[in-house]
């Protein structure tokens, strides 16, 4: 009787552990989202088709187009070498603007416009106001690109 009860306890423990382990494993592998720069994602091309990815870079100067009267926007995400055209509908984060760092998330379809399901403009706890000199802006762009990679 005593041994039976112990066995029962151990079996229950194993089953619960196994079930939770399986749950963690399947949810984990299913929700990994890889981050790419525009150059990387273009190189990956068809391999990533249909996968949810994050693409990070800068919003290219002069590329931001707002459709009048709606929340639909289009812009290019660039890493200096390659660009990815992005379409998004919705309110943009406070820090989103041309020339700033951005991360867009959505399913990747090579050769098509990237339809972003969400846009992140990194909230950093210690961002420093940029000195509005050409060097200052260049420096901050550089550091932002670096931090996004």
């Amino acid at each position: 009787m005593q041994a039976n009860r112990r066995l029962f306890l151990i079996l229950t423990l194993l089953i619960v552990c196994g079930a939770l382990g399986a749950l963690i494993w399947t949810s984990f592998t299913g929700s990994l989202v890889y981050f790419h720069t525009p150059t990387e994602i273009k190189e990956a091309g068809a391999d990533k088709t249909g996968q949810k990815v994050r693409i990070g870079g800068m919003v290219q100067e002069g590329s931001l187009v707002k459709e009048a009267g709606t929340l639909k926007i289009r812009f290019m995400v660039t890493d200096g070498k390659n660009q990815v055209p992005v379409r998004y509908e919705g309110m943009t984060p406070d820090l989103f603007r041309e020339g700033q760092g951005v991360v867009v998330e959505g399913p990747w379809q090579p050769g098509q416009e990237f339809i972003a399901s969400s846009i992140l403009a990194k909230h950093s706890e210690d961002y420093i106001p940029v000195e509005m000199t050409p060097e200052g802006i260049a420096r901050s762009k550089e550091s932002m690109l670096r931090s996004l990679q």
């Binding site: 005593q2 009860r5 112990r6 029962f8 306890l9 229950t12 423990l13 619960v16 552990c17 939770l20 749950l23 963690i24 949810s27 984990f28 299913g30 929700s31 990994l32 989202v33 890889y34 981050f35 790419h36 994050r54 707002k66 009048a68 009267g69 709606t70 929340l71 509908e89 919705g90 309110m91 943009t92 406070d94 820090l95 990194k122 909230h123 950093s124 706890e125 210690d126 961002y127 420093i128 106001p129 940029v130 670096r146 931090s147 990679q149």
Partner: protein, 662 residues
């Protein structure tokens, strides 16, 4: 001037903590108690000097001394005085100093408190806490100094990040740190017990209040953070499973497991190794939390690498703490064998075992999701994120499992009950739960998880109420008291148990809040012109106009929105603020908080000359989370009131068993 005083005080404090680390060891080994007293005096003086150091930094902030680099980076002339003071922990240098100060302060209090009652442990406690504090002070002085001067001081500082200029954020870090640092005391007592080989339950009894206090602080800190995220960040949620949040959640989960499993050791002398493992892990995760958040490693591994000295030091510090304490645990493991075995799967101890299993697995889940991306980034070339869907998928079942155990717990007794009697006592609460789940599925809740939560919550409430009711009836028949008197007597006689019950009620409320807001949130993104109206749920919103408003150090565009709802008519004022010294706008969401749901309105950019973007959320039951956490806090306070009476009884039993040679 003040910053130099602070700097000098910190240097002397470091020397004193090194003395505090070494002197008691010498004292124990040479049998010279005077050295242990030297260690105590050193800890008192270090606490005093670090208080002076903290004052020095705060005064530099209040004096607008922008020649101090840390002040220049985290304050400005326009910053209100309140935020000037609290900017102390606005950056990592200051927070590490703050951490070290709290540590020294808690050490001094603990040493003063336990000096005569725990004479055998105190030398080692002094030594361990001294080592941890000095480790932090080395980091503060050599690698992350808030005392640096600028040779070319600016006229004005760079200001505190506007997102941090919020009361929620002001109180979030200190509470978290009080929790983190508080766990150092039980940790030190546990390691002291391992070192001197007298591994009884003394360390658990000595530090019970410290553990409860730290857990309360950590809980409060986490809630403040969630509250801040909800009110300040304007994305309609309160918890994003961000690594920074996870860093504080991991020690909380393990500490919660510890709070439950110590009861098993107190009552049944089991789980001895396990409890030591849990408290060491809790403190290690507290350290990890501090470092993860305050080293910059989370925003980017490259940021970490840009200051390799600090990164390597932190890794080494963690490695020393982990190797030393777990090594000691392995070394002493054979002394901790227990003859008591789990007798029945239907016993209190088995319920606690499963409770621990769930909580530890929850902790591992968060650890995996937080550290895996860092590992991939460090050792591989790609960068990966683990999104909220992972945590949500795993956490809802784990939470439901814990709720189930919470309900079964009061129905069980130590050593086990007969299956038949368990089934008998389960019937009623289970029926109530099932009926509630079914009813909720029919009426409002159209989601299986929602219905299961409602059912489980009712199940737990019924089980707890029945337990309390039996207690009252027994008391009434024994003493002839009236019902209210009996209830009061019951609760005050065992404050820890019933404090725990109150905490459970708080958790139930919060669980309802999590499920309500997590599964049933409604979001609308739209463009409104002045005079337009929109209907969401039971609310009708009319966008009246945009006006300009101004605060002490900010200007804002503010939308005026008339709302008509079941609670009557009122006005909401969502803002888009621009702080002086910053170009980045920040959103100030306007929130109407009700029992059933919150109405949450965010103002976006102007779309055309006359139209603006809005995001409107209907967040069901969010206020239950905040109210539930308040009930939790009450429960913890009540449990903290537990005097020595109960503990002495158990302590005596412990020594008796010790003499019998267990």
């Amino acid at each position: 001037m003040w910053i130099e005083i602070a700097h000098f005080a910190t240097i002397v404090a470091l020397l004193l903590t090194l003395l505090q680390t070494s002197a008691p060891v010498v004292g124990v080994n040479m049998q010279r108690p005077v050295w242990i007293r030297v260690g105590r005096q050193a800890s008192f003086m270090a606490a005093g000097l670090l208080t002076l150091a903290i004052m020095g930094v705060v005064i530099s902030f209040l004096n607008h001394d922008f020649s101090v680099k840390y002040v220049a980076e985290h304050a400005s002339r326009s910053l209100p005085m309140f935020y000037l003071t609290t900017a102390l922990w606005g950056g990592h240098e200051g927070s590490l100093l703050f951490w070290a100060w709290l540590m020294a302060l808690f050490t001094a209090i603990a040493v003063g408190w336990h000096w005569s009652t725990h004479a055998r442990s105190i030398p080692w406690v002094l030594s361990i806490l001294g080592a941890v504090t000095s480790g932090f002070l080395i980091l503060v002085l050599f690698l992350s100094s808030p005392f640096e001067r600028l040779t070319d001081p600016p006229f004005d500082g760079q200001d505190l990040n506007p997102l941090l200029q919020d009361p929620g954020m002001v109180f979030h870090p200190p509470f978290l740190y009080m929790g983190y640092v508080g766990f150092a005391i039980p940790f030190a007592f546990a390691v002291a017990a391992l070192i001197n080989g007298r591994i009884t339950d003394e360390w658990i009894l000595a530090t019970r209040r410290w553990t409860l206090f730290s857990w309360a602080m950590l809980t409060t800190g986490i809630i403040f953070g969630a509250y801040w995220a909800y009110y300040e960040l304007g994305w309609g949620g309160y918890w994003a499973w961000d690594p920074v949040e996870n860093a504080s959640f991991m020690p909380w989960l393990i500490a919660t497991a510890f709070l439950h499993s110590v009861m098993v050791q107190e009552r049944r002398r089991m789980f001895k190794i396990w409890n030591l493992f849990l408290i060491i892990t809790t403190f290690a995760l507290s350290l990890l939390g501090t470092f993860l958040v305050r080293s910059g490693v989370l925003s980017s591994v490259h940021a970490f690498a840009s200051d390799p000295g600090r990164g390597v030091y932190i890794l080494m510090f963690m490695a020393v703490v982990l190797l030393f304490s777990f090594g000691l645990l392995v070394f002493r493991a054979d002394r901790l064998r227990t003859e008591v075995r789990l007798e029945s799967p239907f016993s209190m101890e088995a319920a606690f075992l499963f409770n621990n299993l769930f909580l530890v697995i929850a902790g591992l889940t968060v650890l995996l999701g937080t550290l895996y991306p860092l590992a991939v980034e460090t050792f591989g070339s790609s960068k990966v994120t683990v999104g909220a869907p992972y945590y949500n998928k795993v956490f809802i079942p784990i939470m439901l499992g814990i709720l189930l155990l919470m309900g079964v717990g009061p129905l069980l007794v130590w050593r086990g009950v007969q299956m038949k009697s368990l089934l008998q006592s389960l019937t009623k609460p289970a029926m109530v739960g099932l009926a509630g789940a079914g009813l909720s599925l029919l009426v409002v809740v159209n989601h299986p998880y929602g219905a299961i939560t409602v059912g489980l919550v009712l199940f737990v409430i019924h089980a707890h109420m029945t337990d309390v009711w039996h207690g009252i009836k027994k008391r009434m028949s024994n003493t002839g008291e009236g019902m209210t008197v009996a209830l009061m007597g019951l609760f005050t006689r065992n404050k820890r148990r019933y404090g725990g019950f109150i905490v459970h009620f708080g958790i139930l409320m919060m669980a309802m809040g999590f499920v309500g807001s997590g599964l049933f949130q409604e979001e609308k993104n739209l463009v409104l012109a002045q005079g337009d109206h929109v209907v969401i749920g039971r609310w009708k919103l009319v966008f009246e106009k945009i006006i300009d408003v101004e605060g002490k150090n900010w200007k804002a565009q503010e939308a005026v929105i008339q709302v008509e709802g079941p609670a009557g008519a009122f006005t909401l004022h969502p803002q888009k603020r621009v702080y002086q010294d910053h170009q980045m706008p920040t959103t100030e969401a306007a929130i109407f908080s009700g029992i059933r749901e919150d109405l949450y309105v965010v103002l976006g950019d102007a779309v055309t000359e006359t139209t603006w973007a809005f995001r409107i959320y209907r967040n069901p039951l969010v206020s239950w989370i905040w109210n539930g956490s308040g009930i939790m806090a009450l429960g913890i306070l009540f449990a903290l009131l537990q005097g020595r009476r109960l503990s002495r009884k158990i302590a005596e039993k412990g020594t008796v068993e010790l003499e019998r040679g267990t």
